[in-house]
Amino acid sequence: MVLTVLLLRHALAKSLWALPVAFGVVTVTFFVSRVFAGDPTNLYVPVDADESVRQAIRERLGLNDPLVVQFGHFLAGLLHGSLGESFSTGRDVTVDLWDRMPASLELGLLGLVLAVALGVPGGVIAAVHGERVPDFLVRGVSLAGLALPQFWLGLILVWLFAVQLGWLPGPQGQLPTGMAPPPRITGMILLDSALTGNWATWWAGAQQLVLPVVTLGFTTAAPLARITRTAMVEALGSEYVRTAVAMGHHGWVIPFKYALRNALLPIVTTLGGTVGFVFSGVILLESIFAWPGMGQYALQAIQMSDFTGLQGFVIYAAILHVIAYVVVDVLYLFIDPRTRS
């Protein structure tokens, strides 16, 4: 009970801190994209269109108002849950993002699970076998994971597994070309096809997911493995671990039960820093694998100077990022009782 109150108070305080940051992000995005982006009327009419036609469009979109007035309209819309009309799709940006969110979430969620499954045990093993073969192996692999550009790793994996070996399908998005998606429940292919018992679709979707998930998981695991190793080396050298050894504990109980719990803070912090960005769609990865997620939406918005679409995405990403920070801060209370005071 006390803990619940404490948690709520803490989360509230953190959220209050986050509000000005979120407002700052909205403001910067709005002005940067308005002042510098190209002419969005090109999205509505041919290049050789008459200037009066363009003027009419600008008038309709409210682009002729002073910037401050436009900003006011935009903020008012935001408070009503609308991000404005996308210049490239003609729909409200919230609708566009809602459509594309599940694809990014599915990829991001599986990628993160893989990253944690690889990175945390990898770091623990490296720390336990300090300066011996397993340690050098983990350090070498995580160094590679840090140095590999995601877009290149994705391409090379496609070349190896889809083109050369033919084990997996090429980059065609969530499902092979021509295959109908399952009825939309959550929007995530694996979940929806499983819920509707559509196993052929499930299998096809799973195959499409392998390469992007591996690319994302491997590159995200690398920093996790490194931070886990560093934190674990410190924890394993501590007096409470020495005491635990002296009391007769041995084997993997020491690293996983005693040391890992104490090493969790930096691990969770690192994870929190990546979660927001992973869930808002990994721009390059989605572009390589033709993944119809939010990252591709952002890329198209930039390339087509659709600044309402772009600012909608940025706001969504920033909010996710801020939420991740708040969650991490609240998690601290669970992990380390000392932070509860």
């Binding site: 510098f36 300066e131 590999l148 877009f151 940025v314 990022h321």
Partner: protein
């Protein structure tokens, strides 16, 4: 009373094994640094060489057949437009290294200066700097870079400034924390007592004593800048189209991957991995060197 210790401390490793392990441990630190330095030196050499000589003109198209496989005439093959991959790779090394070096230097200078100000003066200065920083850090980095690049247009100088701008926050935070923790130490007090002005105390006395963690971060930042530059290049942003640059070279081979012409994308990507990996090795070595506790 016969209390037995539940588990005796592990017997000391046999001397030969212990010695071997100790030698390996001592070796691995400097070895990483040596490998890193050797790779960076090799890249610098290629960059300088590309100024005077490349096998073909890196900007010339159709010096060979489109998508020619690696051969004696074209060691790393040719791309979609028949340009020589090796020549472009050499020229790109120069372009990418220039961006990396200048971006790191600029980010370092601006970041440490602002961090010193924020850390030393605190109060309003600190609050203003940190709030602005938090706003920019809430953006996904690549997206922020894309946004600004789209806004200011392509070009080497613009790209360097953008990379410095998005790479600066960690420098600022590191220096701020160090300066803040030292500003009331005795050497700072002493400097104030002999009449040094605040700016002199901050930049002449506190900054040099706070630079350690920053130095270790430089290599990491360099790796990060090369990866981000390549990512922008891959999207066709940052430098004028056609400029030899690793990321844009990978993009030029993207379609060919599906038809089996792997060499167009493979070699430029390898170049990115090489420099980024070397920088991380150097960064780890520097961190161990500057913080002996870490290498225990």
């Amino acid at each position: 009373m016969t209390t037995t210790v539940a588990q005796a401390p592990a017997p000391a490793a046999p001397p030969a094994r212990a010695r071997r392990r100790a030698r390996f441990a001592r070796f691995s630190g400097p070895l990483g640094v040596r490998i890193g330095l050797a790779i960076v030196a090799a890249y610098l050499l290629v960059a300088v060489l590309s100024w005077f000589w490349t096998p073909y003109d890196p900007l010339a198209l159709a010096v060979g057949d489109p998508y020619g496989a690696p051969s004696a005439a074209h060691w790393l093959g040719t791309d979609r437009l028949g340009a020589d991959v090796l020549s472009r790779l050499m020229a790109a090394t120069r372009v990418n290294l220039v961006v990396m070096l200048f971006a790191v230097a600029t980010g370092l200078a601006v970041g440490t200066a602002l961090g010193t100000l924020a850390g030393y003066f605190g109060g309003v200065t600190d609050t203003v700097i940190m709030r602005i920083l938090e706003v920019f850090q809430a953006f996904p980095t690549l997206l922020l870079a894309m946004l600004v690049v789209q806004a200011v247009g392509p070009g080497t100088v613009n790209l360097i400034l953008i990379m410095a701008f998005v790479g600066m926050p960690p420098y600022l935070r590191l220096v701020r924390a160090e300066v803040m923790s030292r500003r009331s130490w005795q050497f700072a007090e002493a400097a104030r007592m002999v009449g040094a002005r605040p700016m002199r105390v901050a930049f002449g006395h506190l900054l040099p004593n706070s630079i350690g963690p920053v130095l270790a971060y430089i290599a990491v930042n360099a790796a990060w800048v090369s990866l981000l530059t390549a990512a922008l290049g891959f999207l066709g942003l940052g430098l004028p189209p056609g400029t030899p640059e690793w990321g844009s070279m990978v993009a030029r081979g993207q379609d060919a991957i599906m038809t089996g012409q792997w060499w167009v994308s493979f070699f430029p990507g390898l170049a990115i991995v090489g420099i980024a990996g070397a920088c991380y090795l150097l960064g780890d070595g520097l961190a161990d060197f500057l913080d002996p506790r870490r290498s225990s």
